[in-house]
Symmetry: C2
């Protein structure tokens, strides 16, 4: 792959990749539009598109009725029958989805579990689901890859889950297990990192190349960093674990936890407590907090917001992103008084860095992790459409 870079078909592969990436991210595009976007010759685009059609990756359909002068241009779209299987194992359930190359979620299933699943149990469940879906109404489709979003530390090099405390996994070779069970290429990523990718490509961070994503979950705070349009992994792929950071806490009265770790100070559990709840999903918690007249609710929200602001300012100073995306209960904390949060960040961040900064809450809903995991699964295909196609060109029968 890295060897074939300076050669002729390197160009060809890159062009195929560029075309496929465009229709994947921007949706259906006319061939004429593709020529202008790629800067390539019409003939070249036509040839490339034809090749992608032969590979079964895109479909070419009749021109959209446009009320303009001139010959209509055929529309190229990602083939919705090209699927990735996205998997998110969690404490109480495993969510599995079939995500198409056009970004749509073709099917989605949440399998509740009564005990913590071991890695091999997850692999078996994934394989069984895959088999079931293949033989049901997704027959005309083909699954090219599997992507897992795991709540824990994932080593990028080999897809090993180093530590996933809530799942009870340590050094779990989940990639190998799922690969053996499904006979498909598997990618594994940290859930928050994949959420960051999803928000970057399809959510609040569209058209933004430098963003920090922070997600507040039941078990802590995870994050992902996109800089220059690329997910930042770091040396081992563990980057983005802001939850373990120790931000400065200006008011000693604001301290709760001993170590001063962000996810101990800013936590869903503390919000549930002041709301007088024991368990709730995110909208319920948000509503309860908004409506509550209980003493301490506003104070606790403000306290967590102050600490969050310092953590965000630290990240902004270090990374100078143009966007911070907050998800999960952090969105709830932010929404409780967005102006105050922004003011507190502005106070602690460098002015030059803050002036380009926007703070938004996550735009994607529950599909976020599925889309992020599928994106990771598709990434090698998108980078080089000719490599790694398991079954080779698809010859249409007519």
């Amino acid at each position: 792959m890295t060897e074939r870079d300076g050669t002729l078909d390197g160009v060809h592969r890159r062009n195929l990749s560029k075309l496929l990436g465009l229709v994947h991210l921007d949706g259906p595009l006319s061939r004429a539009r593709l020529t202008t976007l790629t800067g390539l010759n019409r003939s070249t685009v036509a040839a490339l598109a034809g090749e992608l059609v032969d590979l079964g990756l895109v479909v070419e359909r009749a021109p959209d009725p446009t009320n303009r002068v001139g010959r209509p241009s055929p529309v190229i779209a990602a083939d919705p029958r090209v699927l990735a299987l996205a998997v998110n194992p969690e404490v109480d359930a495993v969510t599995i989805a079939a995500v198409a190359l056009d970004g749509s979620v073709a099917r989605r299933e949440r399998v509740e579990v009564d005990h913590l699943l071991a890695p091999d149990e997850v692999a078996a469940l994934v394989a069984a689901t895959l088999e079931r879906w293949r033989s049901s109404h997704l027959q005309s489709s083909r699954f090219l890859a599997v992507g897992l979003a795991v709540p824990g530390l994932v080593r990028a090099s080999d897809g090993m889950v180093r530590l996933a405390p809530h799942l009870g996994w340590a050094d779990a070779p989940i990639r190998t297990l799922v690969e053996q069970a499904t006979q498909l290429p598997v990618t594994v990523g940290n859930d928050a990192s994949l959420g960051a990718v999803a928000e970057h490509l399809f959510g609040a961070g569209r058209d933004v190349d430098d963003l920090v994503y922070l997600n507040g979950g039941a078990s802590g705070i995870g994050g992902g960093i996109v800089l220059g349009g690329r997910l930042v992994g770091g040396a081992g792929g563990y980057a983005g674990e802001f939850g373990q950071n120790r931000p400065g806490i200006a008011l000693t009265a604001d301290r709760r936890a001993d170590g001063g770790v962000l996810e101990d100070e800013v936590s869903r559990a503390r919000l549930l407590e002041v709301a007088g709840l024991t368990t709730a999903d995110e909208p319920t918690l948000a509503a309860a907090l908004a409506d509550s007249i209980r003493p301490g609710v506003a104070q606790e929200l403000a306290r967590q917001r102050r600490i969050l602001a310092t953590a965000l300012a630290n990240a902004v100073n270090a990374l100078n992103p143009s966007l911070v995306v907050l998800g999960g209960f952090l969105a709830t904390v932010a929404d409780s008084d967005l102006a105050a949060l922004e003011a507190e960040v502005a106070e602690q961040a460098m002015p030059a860095a803050f002036e380009q900064l926007a703070i938004r809450t996550a735009a994607l809903g529950e599909d976020r992790l599925m889309i992020g995991a599928a994106e990771a699964a598709f990434s090698s295909l998108l980078a080089d459409p000719l490599a790694g196609l398991p079954i080779g060109p698809v010859h249409e029968q007519r």
Copy 2:
């Protein structure tokens, strides 16, 4: 540039760039070695090398006498007559150097100044020095570009210095000024960011693709981040300002400054104070601290080390680098008890992230900023050797 990407000569340009980059970074290489490193065909490498020779960017010399079997292979080396002018304006002096494409510093001059220079004064000084050097013994060389390392916030898009408090600059269009004065393309960067680049390419961070660099100077703490082998700029190019961060301070007794900003807590001024000095250069301060039996010296070093450890752990959790490089007085603080610093970082960083981490002090001396600035100045040439050559191909006369 972005348009010519998928085309034929895009390959050619990339291959030229790859070859030039290799001899630039790794020093002289035999043509045979280049073929294996690039993965290209021998014929191709020969043609490319010849082209670079014609462009006056590399020289091809007789094979090194190697005592091995086989035909000797000609050696390709970056042409030492290709120069960039590196400039570092500081409070008390302006340092200017001629840095060659092979990494050597051909000439270096420190111009002491008796008042803070305004941006246009710096531009005039640079132009005058350039003229002087051109007409003296650097006649056979040619200056291709100018790189400035500025102690302040530099907007990447247009080389505007947004704020350089110690120079007294605000919104100074230094790039335009120097470009007009010298008639050369100019790049401007933050001094610490360029130091990070230099350490990454030629110093303690060779062969390391993910590093965080922190430099302790008289006026504060600056930093630079290299991830995936690339300098991280962020949206505006201001990334790396760790000095403005607020790390958690575990012991309330350790707090000194009100805001809790890193560079107020961990500062050279406080070290000078406990050492009983008013002013000193870095080696003097380090020696004084090491020899001192004054009360409080060890305590202050330990205090600063504890806070620095938290700041480093925060960076490690967020970015998962494989190396942290400490320069300036931070190297002094670290060297006072490196094992303790490592232990304190280990305690506060995620184990998975810490296990791949090394903490080192900067390897490059005073030339660091010159090399970093020159690297930035050369970057466009290295990225595309055919573009931006001001005077076109050099035709050798024989």
